[in-house]
Each structure stands twice: as C-alpha cells, then as structure tokens.
Point group: C2
C-alpha cells in the first residue's frame, strides 16, 4: 500500500464519457459498452480463439489485448472490458479446474468443508503477470478509451467451488451457507482476498475502472445476501476505494438482483448495473429509498431484444434512455452479457444511436 | 356455459384451510403445499413412473391419481396438485412434441410464423378425457383435501413452441414478439384459448382451485409483460372466474417475477405466488401500491434451503410466516418447485411445523 506504482500507470482520461458519468458528472454523450462485448458474437474473436483453451487465452497478453480491442475497433464503444473469465484468479492461484466446452467451469475437488477451505491457495500478483502485461499492452493501443478491469465476486466463485461446476439451484452452496456459517465465512473471506488481490493487480497495471460481477447473487433471498455475501463484497469494493484513493470507479452487477439493488449499492458501488427486468427509474427509486441520492446506474437493454428488428431495438433503447434520466448518471449497457448469436452489426448501430441521442 | 355440470362435481370444502386463506378468511392453520410435491423427490413416485413416459403418465387416470395422492398421504399437505405437465394440453391437442429425458419438451416443428400459428390445433375436451377421469378418481380418494388444477400460461407455452424446446434466453420468442406483434398476439390468443379450455375441463371434473404457472414470465421486462402477455393471461384468469361464478380460487405464479407482481395480480389472480427472492411483505406492499388491498400471497421458502439442516429451515420458515402476516392471507409454499434431490422427510417436518406454528 506504500508502493505508489499502483497509480503511476493509469492514464488521465478526465473527460472520457464513461468516467464522467461514473463520477456523477455530465458527459458529452451517454457512454455505452456491452458486457461480453469481447467474445463469441464477433467472427474475429472466434478466429483468434480457434484451438486456444479459454483460460490459457486469458493469460496470454497479446491475445487478451487483441480480443479486448476488437469490439472497441468495431463498435466504437466508450470502454474496453478486459477479456477474462470469472474463475481465472482461482485457476491462476492453482485451484484444479478447467472450462469444459458446453458445460462451463469444472472443479476437480469441490470445496465442501473447513479443511478444503483451509487448503485453498491464495492469489499472488505473480500468478497473473500475463494479465498485467496484457493491460500494459492495452494502454498503448486504446488511445483515449477507458479500460475496465474485471473480477467475479465471492458468492459466484464459491458456488463454482462448492458445486464443482455451474449449478442451476446452488443447493450445496446454500446448504453450506446455512448449516455451517463459520466455514462459509472462512471461504468467502479467502475468496474476497483473492478477488481484491486480482483487482489490485489490474489497478497497478493501469485499468481506469473495475467491474465486480456477481453472476449468481440473484439466486439469493435478500436476507441471505445481506448476511452471507454482502460483508465480503463490501470488503472488496471498499478495499479498492482505499487502494486507489477513490480514483477508480467501481461498477457492480448481478443478474436477477432486483431485490438486492439497495444492498449491492451500499456495498460500495459507484455504478450499479441493473438487469433488464427492473426499469432504471424503478431501480433508482429503490436505491434512493435506502438512503443513497441520485445513484449512477448501468444498463439495461434485454440482450434478447437484439434479435428483433431495428425498430424494436430503437424503441426499447429510447425507453431505457428516458428511464435513465432519473439517475445521477447513466452508462448504457445491456441488462446482461451479449448473447453468442447476436448480429454484431446491431451492436454497432446501437452504439451510434446512443451516441446521437439527445435526451 | 349453459351446462351446469361444471359445478356439480365439486365438493363443498368451505372450511378447508387452503380455500379459507385463498378467500381472505382466517383458516384454522396456515395452509401449506409444495409446487412439484408430486414428483421426483419421492421414491414411491420414481417407482410408479418407471418405464412410463411423462406425457403418457399424465393421461393415464389411475397413475395420475396415485401420483397426485402420494404427497398428500406422506406429508399431510393442505392441497393436492394435479399431476400434469405444462405442455400436456399442446400434446393432447395434437402438437408434435415429446419430453426428452435430460432436456425437457422438444417440439418437432417450431412455430415461427403466421402460417405455423394458423396450423396450431386447439384443445377440445375429448383430448384430455384421461385428465377428467383422473380428477373423478381423486375426488373419491382425497377426503377433505382440496385438489388444485394446473395449467401452464401462454408465454411459457409460446416459448417452448417458438424456440422448439427449453431456452435460457428466449431470443426467438422475444424477436417474434417485438418484430411481428400481430403473429405474436395470434399465437398467444390461441394458446390462451387452449389453456382456458384445459382449465374448464378440470373445473367441470371438480377441482377446487387452479394454478396458472408461467415458468418463464420472469424473463420479461415489465413493459413487455404488460404489452405482450398480460392481456392473454388475464383472459384465462377472468374466463375462469366467469365460468365458475368466482367459486374456484385462481392461483398465479412465475419465477423471478418480482417486477411483475402488480401486473400479475391485476390479471385476475386470487392468490399470487411469490418466489423466494422477494420477501412476502415486500411483495404485498408492491401489489398494494398498484391499488389492491391486502392481497393473498403464496410462498416462499427457497427450495435450496431444504438442503441445509433443520435449524436453518425452521429459521427461514419463521421469517416467512412473519412476513406473510402483512398479507390478506398466506398459503405457505416453496418459492419454486421441490428440487429432485430433496429429502422428503424434510418436507414432512416442514408441514408439521407450519401447522403447529402460532403467529
């Protein structure tokens, strides 16, 4: 923490629309980027990934740089999102797991008890030197476009570890949480530490914002979220604020988290992502009822609407831009990640439309 | 509609806790039943289903009767739910589809355009005589326990038909909805008619309540729900009220529908099912803000919590019973269907606890 290098690489991009909006200011246009913009919807992505396993790709600097740049070049989005994977820090730290095509992450030895938790390795910066190097390459390529760092949140990581892979219902995870809270909190504490380390590495390398993605938090009741998850998420988000002196905006998002928005915002999010189920003005007033004033939100076009015609996409986009006006700032995005079969030309057209739109 | 038989088979069960609660009265104890209580969590179910395909089972009266009775005998729940499947009325009407183990319903010829919609067969009562006969058998077995009829709602049926099977993102369904609203409304109109016919058959045979289950409605933004789905759901729920003179309570439920609760209640639900993500008191105030006073709710224990120890299950159940007190009536249930690996003894214990609980 006394080493000042963690701010030295960061560019000064004070008028970048993403950062202006994240800080509650008035950007020259509504900033727009897309979760999973760097990925399967792009033929140039599929080309460079051919034959390269996902996790190896995430640790290969020139590949990460190229894949992260592709949607910036093609769509003219207002931010690059670091190409990565939620389980990457676990894998890099030495947890035995792989991403199996058609299934998702598969963990060799699921974590089910206190001894498993004690044996979990922690991430150290040297485990992810490929990520640091990728970020350094990106800073040379991006021009004035901000780079968003990325990490998965502890609940989602815990679910993969406890279930041994993707789970629809998270039975074992919730059983552990409720039946053995001590082991649960030990597990989430370790995962929070790993996540914080991973994000600090990205900050040191020069990212301009971070997104903490809790894919599965929406599977929790509000009480479970507040009791078993929020303290750990909060430790990460507040840890990043401390580490950067508040200079790197923290975006936080989970799918299906309509009832958790207030608590997620309180965890220390500068920008709260909202899925397409909750209109942005509803989200804003729900967060405000918890005491925050004029929160900044991100979202929330239903990614499936991109399969309809342009007229429908434009209509929904106009609705969302109007609903976003009640917020203290609005970063336009989808309400979840880009679906693999999305027509990339629709995304480009959407970026142009958001940029040209006058509220 | 002039044939009075549709009320003649129904038993008089005026003091049954389920019906008292559904009608806003004060039952002798909080009624409790479980969505998917008749199914894979029970070894006696797996035994009788061995070698019998799902849809054939749903049309075999003595099998439907036995499976529907199993959880009533074992757990002492306050209602039986007719053993059926969401796609049954489509299958019975002649739509080419099958339930494929490990996948779900698979439709031979997906419905993608106006001609496909025009060609869809409608359900006639004679297609589901097996269901009527099963209900008649059940009335002789159930004693004083009410029987809840069951049907899937039009959006969910449409998604299966348009996608050709289960879908995570409903891309084609939403594309059709937005790009060709005329065909969409024609499709949902036909599905509403089939669903209404199917529920009328069940009412004629003597069910005491109905549950309209919209599995996937929670995938819709509130605007899409209100524009493209609610009119059709409403037609079914109001159609049943007319058909029965309001004597058969209508339960309506969908997963992940926190933002839709007001609209779903307005569609004509007497009892609104709430999933575990939304605390019942939050659900009640959300519905009340839409103008309804003291709505009756059903739910909402997270089915995954049943994998924790009894102390955790009891704690969550107490919370839910307390939150349910703000409603005009509370039917205890899970916040989604029973998961296949649930320990049935946990369900029995839960029923006993809810019955013995004093608010």
């Amino acid at each position: 923490m006394t080493d000042p290098t963690h701010v030295s690489n960061r560019r000064r991009l004070d008028d970048a629309p993403l950062l202006v909006a994240a800080n509650g200011g008035t950007p020259e246009h509504t900033p727009v980027w897309f979760m999973r913009q760097a990925g399967r919807s792009l033929p140039e992505y599929r080309r460079v990934r051919e034959g390269v396993p996902m996790l190896r790709a995430c640790l290969t600097p020139d590949l990460v740089c190229e894949i992260t740049m592709q949607p910036v070049r093609r769509h003219g989005v207002d931010a690059a999102i670091l190409f990565s994977d939620i389980v990457l820090p676990l894998y890099a730290a030495g947890v035995g797991l792989d991403i199996v095509s058609g299934t998702g992450p598969v963990v060799n030895q699921p974590v089910r008890g206190a001894a498993d938790v004690a044996a979990l390795p922690q991430l150290e910066p040297e485990h992810v030197e490929g990520v640091s190097e990728a970020i350094r390459l990106l800073l040379g390529e991006l021009g004035r476009t901000p780079l968003i760092g990325f990490a998965g949140a502890p609940f989602t990581l815990a679910s993969y570890l406890v279930e041994g892979g993707p789970s629809r219902n998270h039975e074992r995870t919730k059983a552990l949480m409720h039946s053995d809270p001590e082991t649960w909190h030990a597990l989430l504490g370790k995962l929070a530490e790993t996540t914080l380390n991973f994000l600090r590495v990205q900050v040191d390398a020069g990212v301009d914002a971070v997104q903490l993605f809790d894919s599965w938090a929406g599977a929790l009741s509000p009480r479970d979220y507040v009791t078993y998850v929020q303290p750990h998420t909060s430790r990460i988000l507040r840890g990043i604020a401390e580490y950067t002196g508040g200079e790197v905006p923290r975006i936080h998002f989970g799918v299906g988290t309509g009832e958790l928005l207030g608590a997620m915002h309180e965890s220390g999010a500068d920008v709260l992502g909202v899925d397409w189920r909750v209109p942005l003005d509803t989200a804003v007033s729900r967060i405000e009822r918890r005491g925050a004033s004029r929160p900044v939100v991100q979202g929330n076009l239903d990614p499936a609407v991109l399969f309809a015609d342009w007229q429908a996409v434009r209509g929904e986009t106009e609705r969302i831009l109007a609903e976003g006006e009640s917020a203290g700032g609005h970063v336009f995005n989808l309400g979840h990640g880009v679906l693999p079969d999305t027509d990339p030309e629709m995304l480009t057209r959407l970026v142009d439309f958001v940029h040209s739109h006058r509220g």
